[in-house]
Symmetry: C2
Subunit: 476 residues, 2 copies
């Protein structure tokens, strides 16, 4: 090893220290890009306005990331419309009531174009983490609490909020976290029929040693072998939109409440939800299904807030919570910062417009009117019936209010109509069959939360079908 | 049933038809919001420019979604800086070389502020799907192909591209898809030491009946029990940055190539990658680790392009592919549309600036210079050594080029320094211990891809440590 005199060593250290000092002092000028350079956002703003001004006859839309023809964005037409300006109705186009994007909220966002516009800088949030080393934006969390307080639909005081990538990830996280850690007696995941098929498909897909799908919750009330049960309770329920409570109780039962539709748009809110494990999601609140954001809330007493979800949930057991955190951080390193930024902007608009009431008034009014028109159309039919939803006291409106469900849960009443989807298909209507919800195909789910065009076409076809029956009934 | 005369029935049908026609014809005026209303993007643009103009001494940044004081966004300081303008160096702040956000690319994006700015409308892409019913933007896919063609680092002709939420999800998808479907003989997931710990932690976490972690790939060469093996090959490797090929062969072996770092920033590109299953990611290409986007590419011969990933991969087996699609669609219903939009904007900038070469020139130059300075600093030390990376022919530059790795893989050479992380910690440097990569703690990984401030502080501390040793060596 080369020998260096002591004095030279100190000299080198001193020099290195000076170099670092100079770097740290002069670096501001490097880092500080030219702030006199104003107007760097002009191009992006003009591009967005130009694309938004493209006319698509009200039956389509051009997007900045859409396909281009000759370098220009073109109209992307809604279902059943075509042509360069989406002005032509596609002949015999089926009324698609299978899909469930909550596009009825699109006009709300167009009406609030200015307040909901968002400019993202190229260098925005490049890190994995926020400065407090969490994966979640503190501002976003604050706005979620604010919104629950306005909607009066959930208790968030004394609870942590966490996020994940869409509902599916949170359902998985809950099952992984709540399931038995003893692989010789796996937990059973159950839900009351009719239930959302994702609970089954997700559970089946993973095929781990720790849990399996157990089917209908009502069959588990005895639970004679004392196995651990995880009950999913969707309230309001998908597909029939009824408010629900868990049917199982006891020391072996863990209940997960999926409150995706527990907003004044879709249901009366009898009281703020305050269960142990609760999941919420952005898509049914703002309509941004494409943004894939869900959120969790859980009691502060037990938990550490350092993780991020995209639906909400609540838990009371430290081990369970730790497993949940492991699942989410391990699976995602947090939700995209772009999604969080967008969600924040949207929630700011919601909490601002009409003192935070406008979105709920708009959503409730739109869905209630659709439900009324559909009910009326079907009222003359004996062949088809709809689920009954009673008017109920609503904590948000502080009065009894009419129903405004996201789905019609249609039943074919005639004995021979065992496949109701087929009956509707013959009338050019696409629904989702009951078998997907673990009931007979005499039931079918019809989405009524898409665009107004979609709803009008559906109503038109149903009306025609009902009238045809009336006619057939009469001629018989 | 009420009897309605035939004529009345036809009258009702006709009326309903007329109503629908009127709705469809008049609706354009409803859907067409006031396009004369220009300037709806102005507020968002001004807000972003105002936030960007906040001075944080070059050692921090304000963000539109950051915390606010008195309603104004405040500086968020980089590591080791504090104060309202981030102008104060935190005394004795450790040099954190454990974290691995690729923030060295931040100045590139600030330099291209105008072209990388993005304005998102409130109603942008609210659906789960794009108009072609896929979860992925066709434009984004086109730009990914274009970028690979420019970088000359992967063959994408004749291959599909798919996306997922960050690398972790794609690693899981690959394991779920490639593993044995016979639970009595689970697949073993293996990787050559030193390997990226996520392969093990992910595999262990899921604990399914179909796969388990099998440890070091080199121990599996005999594979005497003919079990199915899934070998992960990271090339260049994390932590030692060496180019690699799979070490296992034969009918029971499936190989997954993780090419996260296979870009001219970090390595010579000997030839375009053309393996069967390949994964890429956005975070190491553009530096946007927070955006959680990875992508997949795979031969068109076998597959259906209707799914979305956030890293790239390639597969040749129809069953495997189908399982992969199931995993991703089931787990995510596609990646956030906001993330896709942001990625598209960033890739447009990359392909445009300097004919698509600027990002690679910038990345290569920055990382090469850091490596040179670090190597030089350590060259006088006998106590510490660095991995050797030979200059190599690069397909992108069409010449032999110097190394520019993302990580220094440091070894403590003195016999007594069995815990090299501890040695560094005493010198106020945080590294990631070898044990996390399945080797002895005589090795430690140091990230050199963060901000220039972080690198300078690391280099300063290493320099001090090396000089101290030289002094100690001399005084002994």
């Amino acid at each position: 090893m080369a020998k260096i005199p002591n004095s030279a060593y100190y000299g080198v250290c001193f020099l290195a220290s000076i170099i670092l000092n100079i770097f740290l002092i002069t670096n501001p000028n490097k880092g500080r890009w030219n702030n006199q350079l104003k107007g760097w956002s002009d191009g992006a703003a003009s591009e967005a306005e130009a694309v938004a001004s493209i006319q698509c006859s009200g039956h389509g839309r051009a997007y900045v990331d859409g396909l281009k023809v000759d370098g220009k964005p073109v109209c992307e037409c809604n279902l059943c419309f075509q042509g360069p300006y989406c002005s032509e109705f596609v002949p015999d186009c089926p009324a698609d009531a299978d899909r469930h994007d909550p596009l009825f909220l699109e006009p709300f966002w167009m009406r609030h174009a200015a307040s909901s516009a968002l400019l993202v800088a190229g260098w925005h949030r490049m890190s994995y983490v926020f400065p407090d080393q969490t994966y979640v934006s503190e501002e976003l969390e604050n706005y979620i609490r604010k919104l629950h307080a306005i909607a009066k639909n959930a208790v968030t005081d004394g609870k942590y909020i966490a996020f994940g990538c869409g509902s599916t990830q949170l359902i998985n996280a809950a099952v992984f976290a709540l399931s038995s850690q003893n692989s010789s007696s796996p937990s059973r995941v159950v839900a009351l029929t009719p239930y959302y098929p994702l609970y089954k498909s997700q559970t089946d897909y993973f095929q781990t040693a720790h849990f399996e799908f157990g089917g209908d919750a009502s069959l588990m009330k005895n639970n004679s072998d004392a196995s651990q049960l995880i009950e999913f309770v969707t309230s309001p329920n998908n597909p029939d939109c009824q408010l629900r409570k868990g049917v199982l109780q006891g020391p072996y039962v863990r209940t997960v409440y999926d409150h995706a539709y527990y907003w004044p748009h879709f249901t009366a809110i009898p009281a703020p939800a305050d269960e142990d494990v609760m999941i919420f999601t952005l898509s049914k609140l703002t309509g941004h299904a494409g943004s894939r954001l869900g959120v969790f809330a859980y009691p502060q007493l037990y938990y550490n807030p350092s993780f991020v979800f995209a639906r909400w949930a609540i838990i009371k057991d430290k081990d369970v919570f730790d497993r949940m955190v492991t699942y989410v951080t391990s699976a995602e390193l947090g939700v995209s910062k772009d999604t969080q930024l967008r969600a924040l902007k949207l929630l700011k608009v919601l909490t601002k417009e009409g003192n935070g009431r406008e979105i709920f008034d708009y959503g409730f009014k739109t869905m209630m009117e659709r439900w009324k028109r559909l009910s009326q159309t079907l009222s003359s039919s004996t062949r088809f019936s709809l689920q009954e939803i009673s008017p109920n006291y609503c904590n948000f409106y502080d009065k009894v209010r009419d129903p405004s469900p996201a789905y019609a849960w249609l039943k074919c009443e005639n004995e021979e109509d065992t496949d109701c989807t087929k009956v509707l298909r013959a009338a050019n209507i696409i629904g989702r069959p009951g078998s997907l919800f673990n009931v007979e195909n005499r039931y079918v789910r019809l989405s009524i939360l898409r665009r107004q065009d979609d709803f009008e076409l559906l109503l038109y076809r149903i009306n025609k079908l009902v009238k045809m029956d009336v006619k057939t009934g009469q001629s018989m």
